[in-house]
């Protein structure tokens, strides 16, 4: 891994525009998603219900909520879900989504939990997409924005690891090489 990769230079908000380009998320798809926003609003409480039922039934995930105001959590999760359908996937969107990733890094949550929980979000997002006249196109679009969220969530974790190690060893490229197990 002694070669410098151009992907290492893409950071923060720029990662989302890069991924939008990589995945070919088109203006038509963004418009389809936007047209589904009120359907998403209606679906959000059911999604939130399934989401927390699962998280709170599992002791290792439930313990993160022992002293948390759950009503606030419900609101934030529903807002997150509805925002998937906001139709504008720009830098401001990227910043909001990354900040959510950062929050989970900060509370010491292993990344497997949020990634696994995207399964619940996926089911409900596809239910929303099926209400669209062009349901196949809507499902394709919704899968793309959820994949973006998976990527951004994961990136928040990786960024934190690289940053912490780079601070310790004084050099980002060295940190990347150490993490690659060279």
């Amino acid at each position: 891994m002694s070669v410098e990769r151009s992907s290492w230079q893409i950071k923060n908000e720029a990662t989302l525009s890069e991924l939008v380009q990589l995945m070919g998320l088109s203006a038509d798809e963004a418009a389809i998603l936007k047209s589904l926003q009120s359907a998403a609003q209606r679906q959000a409480p059911a999604m939130r219900e399934d989401f927390y039922k699962r998280l709170l039934a599992h002791p290792q995930t439930a313990e993160y909520f022992s002293d948390i105001n759950m009503n606030h959590m419900y609101d934030m999760l529903q807002t997150w879900f509805v925002e998937l359908f906001c139709g504008v996937y720009d830098e401001a969107y990227a910043r909001r989504r990354m900040k959510i990733g950062d929050t989970h890094v900060r509370i010491g949550l292993p990344v497997r939990y949020p990634l696994a929980m995207l399964d619940v979000a996926m089911k409900h997002a596809e239910d929303v997409a099926r209400t669209h006249a062009q349901s196949d196109a809507a499902i394709t679009a919704v899968r793309k924005v959820l994949a973006l969220d998976v990527a951004v969530f994961n990136q928040a974790y990786e960024d934190r690891q690289i940053q912490a190690l780079a601070e310790m060893v004084g050099n980002e490229r060295l940190a990347r090489r150490l993490l690659a197990g060279e």
């Binding site: 310790m168 060893v169 004084g170 050099n171 060295l174 090489r177 060279e182």
Partner: protein, 123 residues
């Protein structure tokens, strides 16, 4: 005109000559842990030693910063079968030196400092 790598090897060779058999290996390394040039025993991975040397120096600089004791000048690790020394060679590189256990540390430190200065002028 010798290449940069050849010039660094010449500095390392000089260091090894000036210190008798005390220095058993040495490498000039970038802050990213990549070796520019080295003389290491065949059973030692230069790549790994280079990464480790850069890590040690990075952590040492961090300690220097936290404790406000100034810039790191050298790090010496003494193990029961040998010593390992890392020192800055200018702002962008390091010199890592592997020593025999009973090496004359006083002499090696002086010679290594000269070698590091010479390397900093080459890189």
């Amino acid at each position: 005109m010798a290449s940069r790598q050849e010039q660094i090897i010449a500095v390392i060779d000089q260091l090894m000559t000036n210190t008798g058999t005390d220095v058993v290996g040495a490498a000039a390394v970038g802050l990213d842990g990549i070796s520019f040039a080295s003389r290491m025993a065949a059973d030692v991975s230069t790549e790994r030693v280079a990464a480790v040397a850069a890590t040690i120096m990075g952590v040492t600089r961090r300690v220097g910063g936290e404790l406000r004791i100034g810039a790191a000048e050298e790090v010496i690790i003494k193990a029961n079968k040998g010593l390992f020394m890392v020192l800055p060679a200018g702002d962008q590189s390091l010199l890592a030196v592997n020593l025999r256990q009973d090496a004359n540390l006083g002499l090696v430190r002086l010679e290594a400092r000269d070698a590091a200065r010479a390397i900093s002028q080459i890189v």
